[in-house]
Amino acid sequence: MIHSYLYLSIILFCLGVVGVISRRNVFTVFMSIELMLNSANLAFIAFSRVHESMDGHVLAMMVMAVAAAEAALALAVVILLHKHKSKLDTNVFSLLKG
């Protein structure tokens, strides 16, 4: 039973990774990262069940809180970027290189 949750979690994680490296839209990228974090949360909850302790739930809550803070910052950055270039394509932001 635990395996199913784990497989799902890993699949979600991988989807997140693929999203990050394949999508150019800033929003999509940040959503992919959220997906990865949430896949970890899923794993936490599942393991919590296996160990029959509440630790995993606590950890998942922590991660969600941090993810929320990060998301807030990410949105601010998205606005900032949009103000500068009116685009949210990550490839546009490649002034720093070499």
């Binding site: 950890l59 991660v63 720093l96």
Partner: protein, 472 residues
């Protein structure tokens, strides 16, 4: 309990100070200068408190404090000292920096202090989730600081890159934590260590995978190859004092937690030695090779930061899990911090308005116009290059000694070769400063300021640290 809280006092001071500064700036009670001095005061007080703890001698290891989540041993205290000093010098040089740049607000200093509180927590943490939280406290503050100059598209790009990749790496950390938790049922380093000692490291794919993911996250923050690519751009985009802060304080915190995690168990450490060996070698050489092609000082220093991460990884490879004191790592971090902060505080007042001087060529002939600044910068560069009698040399000496003592002769030799290579780009700046005629007068730079005071204080530190004998 009181004793425990006493030992956390620096952290508490910093945390309270950060909140106070934030509130004060929110209600516009303070202006930029007083915020700067206020944050410097917070750092200074915390530093002195930490120093008094350090001088008091061996602290009791209190593994069950906060349920074993935090620890305050000599290593964490030493690292804490370095972080607080970094914060102090960053605040002071920021004050000068913002005399020439106009995007400051008092919250800036509040965030600096917040970041420091995250770093301090990170050095003490003995648990994965609190490590994650501390990491994020630190990182979120730093993200904002990196993008603080909202009018500058480069800063925005830097924060995008940093935030995106940082969060990406953070996701790996949580996933790794989940795996480790799943297998061992705990997230505390000590208990993970016990579990591995009992059941063996290589037996369980979940631990290996989880530890691997955790390592990846740490390596990302430490800017190890191949997770180093962001460093150059982010350092380049951030403002001078923040770049210095990231390069020193942040790195100190990361290596502290990294070391604490690795020494949780001998098998865990042993399992990663070969892996870390290659990572450190590649990190050193990649950093060097990136650095030689750079025209911008900031980018060069970022790349040299990668190289120094490589040296610190050598130290991590060579640490002994039985009698871990972290002295070598802390010493090297202190030595490196003195040099790097010194350069950035010098650049804070020399770079001029909107950081118009950032390339090697911009500093041609500096020695003719500002001889003392040029001399100080040379000292920092020589320290980073590891030329005696600077702190950088002694730091490198201790690292190589510990590596050879641990039987890692090849790694030591490769480290030495890398430092030969690194010599070129450090010398290049010295050559530019000294051996060319001055092309401009640097008249617009702030003549005598907090940043220059920091610079000379740090130059003094470079020698003082080198003379300080280290007990391994």
């Amino acid at each position: 309990m009181t004793n425990d809280l006493m030992l956390l006092l620096p952290l508490i001071i910093v945390g309270v100070g950060a909140i106070a500064l934030m509130l004060a700036s929110a209600y516009k009670i303070i202006n930029n200068t007083s915020a700067a001095l206020g944050s410097a005061l917070v750092f200074a007080v915390a530093f002195l408190v930490q120093l008094s703890f350090c001088l008091k001698g061996n602290a009791v290891l209190f593994s069950d404090t906060f349920n074993g989540i935090l620890v305050a041993n000599t290593f964490s205290k030493g690292a804490g000292l370095v972080i607080l000093a970094c914060g102090l010098f960053t605040s002071l040089s920021s004050q000068t920096y913002f005399k020439q740049n106009d995007f400051c607000s008092p919250e800036y200093y509040s965030l600096t202090v917040f970041a420091a509180s995250g770093m301090l927590l990170l050095t003490m943490t003995q648990e994965l989730i609190s490590a994650f939280v501390a990491l994020e406290i630190m990182s979120l503050a730093i993200y904002i600081l990196v993008g603080y100059n909202r009018k500058n598209v480069v800063a925005a790009e830097a924060v995008l890159k940093y935030l995106m990749l940082g969060a990406f790496a953070g996701a790996f950390l949580t996933m790794g934590t989940a795996f480790v938790y799943g297998q061992t049922g705990t997230t505390q380093f000590a208990k993970i260590g016990q579990y591995i000692a009992a059941n063996g490291f290589t037996q369980s794919p979940a631990i290996i995978g989880g530890a691997f993911f955790i390592l990846v996250a740490f390596l990302f923050k430490a800017a190890a190859f191949p997770f180093h690519a962001w460093v150059i751009d982010v350092y380049d985009g951030a403002s001078m004092p923040i770049t210095g802060y990231m390069a020193t304080g942040l790195k100190t915190a990361i290596f502290a937690v990294f070391a604490n995690f690795l020494v949780a168990d001998a098998q865990l450490h042993a399992g990663w030695i070969t892996f870390l060996f290659y990572v450190s070698v590649l990190t050193m050489f990649a950093g060097n090779l990136i650095a030689i092609g750079q025209y911008s000082l900031k980018r060069m220093l970022a790349a040299s930061g990668i190289v120094h991460s490589g040296y610190l990884l050598i130290a991590l490879v060579a640490v002994s899990t039985e009698a871990f004191s972290g002295a070598v790592i802390a010493y090297y971090l202190a030595a490196y911090a003195a040099g790097t902060l010194g350069i950035f505080s010098a650049l804070s007042y020399l770079s001029g308005k909107d950081e118009k001087r950032v390339t090697f060529d911009d500093f041609k002939g500096l020695a003719k116009v500002r001889p003392y600044s040029a001399a100080a910068i040379s000292i920092f560069l020589l320290s980073m290059a590891g030329i005696p009698p600077t702190a950088g040399f002694m730091g490198k000496f201790y690292i190589i000694t510990s590596a050879i003592d641990a039987g890692q002769v090849t790694l030591a030799v490769l480290g030495i070769i890398s430092s030969v290579i690194s010599m070129w780009y450090y010398l290049r700046l010295i050559i530019n400063m000294y051996f060319y005629e001055a092309e401009e007068s640097f008249a617009d730079t702030v003549p005598s300021s907090l940043a220059s005071a920091c610079t000379f204080a740090l130059a003094f530190c470079v020698f003082a640290i080198s003379l300080y004998p280290l007990a391994i």
